[in-house]
Symmetry: C2
Subunit: 67 residues, 2 copies
Amino acid sequence: MRLRILDILEEKGKTKYWLYIQLGLSYQNFNKIVNNETKSIKFENLKAICDILECTPNDLFEEYHNK
Amino acid sequence: MRLRILDILEEKGKTKYWLYIQLGLSYQNFNKIVNNETKSIKFENLKAICDILECTPNDLFEEYHNK
DNA sequence: ACGTGATATAATGTATACATTAGTTAATGA
DNA sequence: TCATTAACTAATGTATACATTATATCACGT
């Protein structure tokens, strides 16, 4: 379940740093999420990422983003 | 981010127990997920639930299931 | 020269998902 | 009577998300 965060950031012309500031997570853990080095995610963070990137969970997940 | 697992099970005429057996998680942790007592979820379990219930993450999450 | 955007790594601690083991209760069918 | 479906609870341990603190590098604008 790869997260397409970097792809979506690129589509929107925004930087990782921008999302990091918006989210308010520590950079360490933010970086792991964005670089797909995590095996799970808190619902509140998934929701926050969707809110900020103006998308839905399906858009974020590699295997569902075209469904 | 409430999970609509029980709603989807009811729509499909399946029991909690059926999903529990399909998933292979411990009943303790399965029950917490289904009863929305967890704050996060492993991607592999989210994927497995979607596979078994033949749905997408958006269908599972209360605030995205009509999007 | 200095602040800030942008990106990254390392160490340590806490919260929590999930596993394991061990029970309980009740309905149903062989 | 006994196995199976169906549902639930408690105790203990491990894996991992996330926080905190501390670094570092490089570009860019003032």
